[in-house]
Structures are given as C-alpha cells and as structure tokens.
C-alpha cells in the first residue's frame, strides 16, 4: 500500500477523523481520550460491516485484528488498514513483526509499550485530541527545522563534546570524518537500541545524538526522557541516506519523492522508509553522472566525494545550522 489515507469513523456517540501516512502508526496518550472506543467501533464494523451501525469512510478497508485468531486473520487481509488493540498479548513478539513485514496493509497500533521489534517512525506516534464528540490524531513528538526533538529545540545549542550516531557503516564514516576534523569525538552505538545504552554509560557528556527518525519510534520515549535530564540533544532526520538525497549532491534525486515519500514507498516492499531511501540512493549513484558519489549498499565504506568539506557541509547543513 502507498499513499496518505484519510479515515473517518463515526457512530451516534463519537466521530474520529485522522490521516495515515506510513505503514505503521502508533496511538498512545492519556486515558479517557477514546482509543478503546475507536478500536471497538472498528471491531464492531469488522464483524458486522454496515449492520453494526458504525460508519467508516476510507478508500481502504478498515479491520480490527482480534486476539485469538490473529495469524489467520492477517493471512487473509490485504490492501487494508489493520487496527490492533493494546490488550493483544502478541504485540511485542517477533512473530507479529515477521507477520506484518512484506504485507500491503497499513497498521494502527494502540499501545504505550515500546515495540522494539517494529521499525516505526518518530513522526507516526500520535495521541488523540478530543473536542466534544470529535476526535483527531495529534503528533506526540515535535521537532524544529533541524530535526531536533524535545529539549533544546529552536534554541542555540552549545558545541557538543561528542557526537553519537546509531549508524555503524557509511553514516558513521561520514560523521566521524566531519566532526573529528572539528575536534569533536564521534562514536557509533551500533544500532538504535545501542543509543540508549551508550547514553546511559556516558551520563554527563554534552552529546549530539544523530539517529534515523524513520525507525527510532520504539526508542524515542526513553531516550528523550534521559536526554531531558542530561545535556544531550536528539537529532532525528529521516535517515542518513535521506540527508544525502536532500543535500542536492545527487543528480536526478526526485523532489516529488522526497517531498511526498508516502506516495512512492510501498509498504509491501519496504518495512520502513529508511530502507527505501537506501535503495533509492544506491540506484541513483549507480548512474554514470553520480559516479563520484557511488553509495555502497553493504555500508562498509563511503566514497571520498562525500568527505570533501564543501559536499559534507551541504549534507550537515540540513541538521546543523
């Protein structure tokens, strides 16, 4: 499935209106805002369709995944928006992650737990806002124009004494070269979950953390809470490859795709947007006109052209003023 899908769910008591942009959307927030009500309305409609009295307006079928027979139900569901309630015991299992990867559905999951098995974006975590009978989704985490989340947004940030990136391949090579030439130490956490561990072990350091927002959803809550009680800044652009594509260095990088990824990234082919942007960058830099910027999919190294100061500056300027 691709694209942005508007959903309206209504009955005599409540109206929910929201838009879904990526394959995985997480809904959490305060109690009493209507999460269970929305799930139950979808659930009633799944069982009884229009005879439920629940009215759903959406260009895709909306279904609720029930607890007992979820694997079978999922196996028979395609091109749909699937809603999963927080009471589902299978939510944190690898089984669920492997079952939904490669499907052409979008998923809306009501849950406050961090779902470490799923690569969901920090941009697609919402709470429900209520005004009378009307309910809508509101993003939980905001960022400034430099993709800095939480404390420190839109304010002058002092020079860090270290940079941490979750990337251990090309991104790390790039950031290490850029920052260490400016006398700032650069470290890799070796993955998203490693960010938290590294931060715990380096309390007190003034650290600028760079991670892929496209798949950092399960980590943002605890890392932001740690960062808010220490001197750390959390910067979450879509991905390192997205920064390169956005920098203007790569000929043929489509503005349409970068401005509206949802319309081009099929959930069946790419579990998260970062994977798409990696593939897209590899394809573009295979072309002769982009030969100096050849991007290696194995991520073992990075082309020299990226490290030249003027080019590196174009990439870095997207996240650092």
């Amino acid at each position: 499935m691709t694209g942005n899908h508007h959903v309206e769910v209504r009955n005599r008591d409540a109206v929910f209106k929201f838009d879904l942009i990526r394959n995985i959307t997480i809904v959490r927030g305060d109690s009493g805002t209507g999460k269970t009500t929305l799930y139950e309305m979808i659930s009633d409609h799944t069982r009884l369709k229009d005879q439920s009295g629940v009215n759903i307006r959406c260009d895709k079928q909306c279904v609720a995944l029930t607890d007992t027979d979820w694997r079978n139900q999922l196996g028979n569901t395609s091109d749909s928006i699937v809603f999963i309630d927080e009471g589902a015991a299978f939510l944190k299992t690898k089984d669920l992650a492997s079952s939904i990867e490669g499907t052409d559905n979008y998923y809306v999951i009501f849950c406050r737990d961090s779902l470490h098995e799923l690569p969901y974006s920090v941009e697609e975590i919402y709470e429900i806002k209520t005004s009378g009978k009307n309910h809508s989704f509101k993003k939980m985490y905001g960022h400034d124009t430099s993709f800095v989340y939480g404390k420190g947004r839109s304010s002058a940030r002092p020079k860090p004494d270290a940079v941490l990136t979750e990337d251990s391949g090309s991104g790390y090579q790039f950031y290490k070269h850029y920052f260490e030439s400016r006398d700032i130490e650069c470290f890799t956490s070796g993955g998203n979950s490693g960010v938290f561990r590294w931060v715990m072990e380096n309390k007190g350091r003034r650290v600028f953390i760079i991670a892929d927002g496209a798949a950092f959803g399960s980590e943002i809550d605890r890392v932001l809470k740690i960062a808010s009680s220490s001197d750390m800044t959390l910067c979450l652009p879509e991905s390192f490859e997205w920064l390169i594509l956005r920098s203007g260095l790569i000929k043929g990088a489509s503005e349409k795709i970068l401005d509206d990824p949802s319309s081009y990234i099929d959930s069946k082919d790419h579990f998260s947007w970062e994977r798409y942007f990696t593939q897209y960058l590899v394809e573009l830099t295979d072309r002769p006109e982009n030969a100096p910027f050849k991007y290696y999919s194995d991520k073992g190294r990075i082309a020299e052209a990226y490290l030249i100061d003027i080019n590196a500056g174009k990439i870095i300027s997207i996240i650092i003023d």
Binding site: S31, G32, G87, S114, R222, K225, S229
Partner: protein, 153 residues
C-alpha cells in the same frame, strides 16, 4: 510505598496483562461507588457515578462501568484487588497521580501496592518514593526513575 516491576513479567500467574477484560469479568459493584473511585472516574473519564451500575458520560450518556476507559479500569483494579499485579501501561500519564495516591492510602493501612509498567510513566515534577522491583532500589523523582528503569522498557 508504590512498588513497580518494569518490563515483561512473563507467565507469572499473578500478572494481569489485559486489564480491561479482567475488570469486566471481576469487578464488584461496590468498587464503583467508593469516594476515591468517584474521584478517579470524574478526573480521568470526566464522568459522574450515578449508582453502582450507572455512570453518566459526556460522550456516551448513561453507561455501564464496563465502558470506563482502560486507564480507569486499571486504577480501580489496583485499588481494590491486591491479589494480582496489573499492567499499568494501560494507564496514561493522567493516571499517574492516582496511582501514587492509591499507594499512599494503602501505605497508611500497612499495605503495599505493586504494579507492572512497560513504559516510562510520567509521575510529574514532584518528589515521591517508588520502589523499583527490578533493582531493589528506591527512587525519589522522575530523573532518578528514568535512569533506574529505562533499561527494562
């Protein structure tokens, strides 16, 4: 004092994950009309208790206690059933003050409250005393709680 076990509790028979279903099948009418329950229902769900079987909701009108929010159901379970450890990650941050208050009330009766959290609930800017079951340490504010418990969620 409030005791919290962070993270997955595995197959422990006293751990209740789906608190909504458990509440619907076990709650007692008398729980609903207790003064503290009325306060909780008013504060979190913006609803008034009419009697033990009827609650007036601004959204649903007259409704059964089974239509209360997942957070309120969990709070009522924590307050009234000490035989289980309930998954309080079914509660939003707007339930945190009530969890602390329930624990205070129980402490006055020489009882402890144990809950399970799978996320870092925000207990606010004030001071408190919470016993972290995973590490057997007491934390006194959110900063301490976050550093002590974040690795388990």
């Amino acid at each position: 004092m409030l005791h919290i076990f962070f993270g997955d509790m595995g197959d422990r028979p006293d751990a209740i994950f789906n608190t909504s279903v458990y509440f619907n099948n076990t709650y007692k009418d008398g729980w609903i009309t207790k003064p503290l329950s009325k306060e909780i229902i008013k504060a979190v769900d913006k609803s008034e208790v009419i009697d033990e079987r009827t609650i007036m909701s601004p959204v649903f009108g007259n409704m059964s206690p089974k239509k209360l929010s997942g957070g309120v159901k969990t709070l009522l379970l924590i307050d009234n059933d000490s035989s289980k450890i309930f998954n309080a990650s079914t509660c939003g941050d707007n339930c945190a003050e009530w969890i602390l208050r329930i624990a205070e009330n129980k402490a006055a009766q020489k009882k402890k409250v144990v809950i399970n959290l799978r996320h870092l609930m925000d207990f606010g800017k004030g001071e408190f005393r919470i016993y972290i079951e995973n590490t057997n340490r007491i934390v006194k504010n959110m900063d301490e709680l976050v550093w002590e418990a974040a690795e388990f969620v």
